[in-house]
Amino acid sequence: MSIFVDENTKVIYQGLTGSQGRYYGLLNREYGTQVVAGTNPKKAGTEVDGIPIYANVAEAVAATGATASCIFIPAPGVLGAVIEAAEGGVEFIVAITEGVPAHDEAWFYNKLRRDFPKVQLLGPNCPGIISPGKCNIGITAGHIAKEGGPVGIVSRSGTLTYQALYELKQKDIGVTTCVGIGGDPVPGTSFIDCLRAFEADPDTKAVMMIGEIGGSAEEEAADFIKNHMSKPVSSYIAGVTAPPGKKMGHAGAIVSGGKGTAQAKMDALADAGVRVGMNPTEAGDLMAEIVAEL
């Protein structure tokens, strides 16, 4: 099994007619994802390489029965796109777009919680989600992941996620689902959302968690692992040597007021029984050890 998305997931691409949306939408379809529709109010009735374009998400859902959407809309339009998707009736929204203002993110996060409690938003500023062999929504190169299991991955960083998928594949270890939750201050899906789903998924036997400096999501995850998880976890945290007060590429990757340091996160995770690697390779090796012990 997998979490959040699988071979039956039908996906709408908001922004399929744009250059990024088209590029990744078609790559995702090639991977095997059911890319059933795109949206663009000005191009309704046209198509992109055989994929029909609808005026909005509601019409696309009515016509295709899609349950997920993927947003490749420029940052100023993301708030509107997320609400359009929720109102249109999809249950899972993946927002790839980088550079969304934090106030917009805080607003639509709380709006969804209140008015659309069943909707799960992933991102923004994330690489997306892949259940290898079944469904790939976003910008991950599908072939670097080995399908199957027993490992689930959740990560705040794109390239470190790819690195993890690739290292596990080199070791012939499969992945049920890999979720990139993104590097922004208010991610729609948290580490805990993913850990809970992996804990409930019978095919996932172990979880690899990749965090970075900033905020306290890793500490909260550690608390969850300690109290609610039976499955083993390995982890890596980027940014041990990051100077305080500087945003390290991601909007959310900042140590401020002495809070959000990598060391505090690693300590919390180790305290929760997580095997913490000092670099991505070591975290991969630790996961291989865990898998060998299963």
């Binding site: 790559l27 106030h103 690195q163 040597t241 590429g249 991601h250 909007a251 007021g257």
Partner: protein, 384 residues
């Protein structure tokens, strides 16, 4: 984006908040002229992007214009925690009866806005939080609802300010919240917010951090972007649109992806070296971006070796390798380069690079080996 105090006050004034009359000055003569317009007694305040300026002698009371001349002369050029003072704020002095603290920021954990108000102002809020946490009244605000006057009043009352300050404080908290949300701020902080002997609530300091992601809807934010504290290297990188942070070491780092770039800096450190910078060139890693990155790093005199760490995802290793070769032909590079290329089509990429390998262009298969090699080349390795 961090604002200077005077910028923060101008920003607050746009939302109707009461701030003191003041002018920014870059020279002693300008400071004197400003004082003549603003009037004395006045405060001379160093404008720097760091705290602790009072203790460092960066804030002085001037009873007369002559005092302004003397203090401005001392403060301009002063080094405060590594920040050299280039501008001072000349501001009309205020009488103070009580000092409070007020701020709004995003609580990433609660995913709501957090307001903090305290009757114990004028000191660092972290100190208050540690020694007397009950002295801070907190309010969590759902962004969809916003801050109502009713909630603001209850919050202000909970902070136990002088009862005569309640109305003024509520009004300023409402304005501060509007400044925070409409202004797309990461942080707005007033410390101290003062209560005067004639019973007015007044903004005496301003600390504002704006969300760079919101620049597209605030045309006036370009002025703040220009005054960000950047060293020469960061300025050059910023002009090229690169995600760069200057560090103190000798190994120049180029990586694709923020996480991988952070991780690369960490690994250089783990093997006994120190990175000269953090630099994320994004997913594409094409020749244009790569040559821009190499130029910035090459111009850093501290750099003794360069570590290029690329993981090919959708961008294939062979494309990356060609990009690196082309970039190297465009930039005349002074330091030896170590490349680690992995991921999609890594083998093809390595084959493309192989004919170019030499003492000054080396290739390693793993991140750790490449880190060790670049640290050795920088002459600081422990040769483990």
């Amino acid at each position: 984006m961090d604002l200077f105090e005077y910028q923060g006050k101008q920003f607050f004034a746009q939302f109707g908040m009461p701030v003191s009359a003041g002018e920014v000055a870059f020279t002693v003569d300008e400071a004197v002229a400003a004082a003549e317009r603003v009037g004395t007694p006045a405060m001379v305040k160093a404008q720097v992007h760091t705290g602790g300026r009072g203790k460092a002698g960066g804030v002085k009371f001037a009873a007369t214009v002559d005092d302004v001349r003397k203090h401005a002369g001392n403060i301009l050029g002063l080094d405060i925690r590594g920040h050299v003072v280039k501008r001072v704020l000349i501001e009309k002095a205020s009488d103070i009866a009580e000092e409070y603290y007020a701020s709004f920021t995003l609580d990433r954990s609660a995913k709501k806005h957090l307001g903090m108000l305290s009757a114990e102002g004028g000191v660092e809020i972290e100190t208050v939080a540690e020694q007397n946490p009950d002295a801070i009244a907190k309010i969590w605000i759902d962004p969809v609802d916003g801050l109502t006057e009713e909630a603001a009043t209850a919050w202000v009352e909970a902070a136990k300010l002088n009862p005569d300050a309640t109305d003024g404080a509520v009004k300023i908290m409402m304005q501060l919240y509007t400044a925070y949300t409409e202004g797309d701020a990461d942080l707005v902080e007033i410390n101290p917010l003062i209560f005067t002997p004639d019973k007015r609530v007044h903004v005496l300091d301003a600390k504002v951090t704006l969300d760079g992601n919101s620049e597209y809807r605030h045309a006036d934010y370009a002025q703040y972007d220009e005054t960000q504290p950047r060293d020469e290297r960061e300025e050059a990188a910023h002009a090229k649109g690169l995600q760069y942070v200057g560090l103190d070491g000798t190994v120049g780092v180029i990586a694709n992806g923020a996480g991988l770039a952070m991780s690369t800096v960490d690994v250089v450190n783990q093997v006994g070296g120190a990175a000269a910078n953090f630099l994320d060139i994004g997913g594409g890693a094409n020749a244009d971006v790569m040559s821009g990155a190499l130029e910035v790093i090459n111009n850093d005199p501290a750099v003794k070796s360069i570590f290029i760490n690329i993981f090919g995802g959708i961008t294939r290793g062979d494309e990356v390798a060609n990009g690196i070769i082309e970039a190297m032909s465009r930039v005349d590079i002074d330091s030896p380069i170590v490349i680690r290329l992995d991921g999609t089509n890594a083998d093809e990429g390595r084959e493309i690079l192989r004919p170019y390998l030499s003492d000054v262009l080396q290739m390693e298969d793993t991140m750790l080996d490449a880190a060790r090699c670049s640290v050795e080349l920088a002459g600081q390795g422990d040769n483990k």
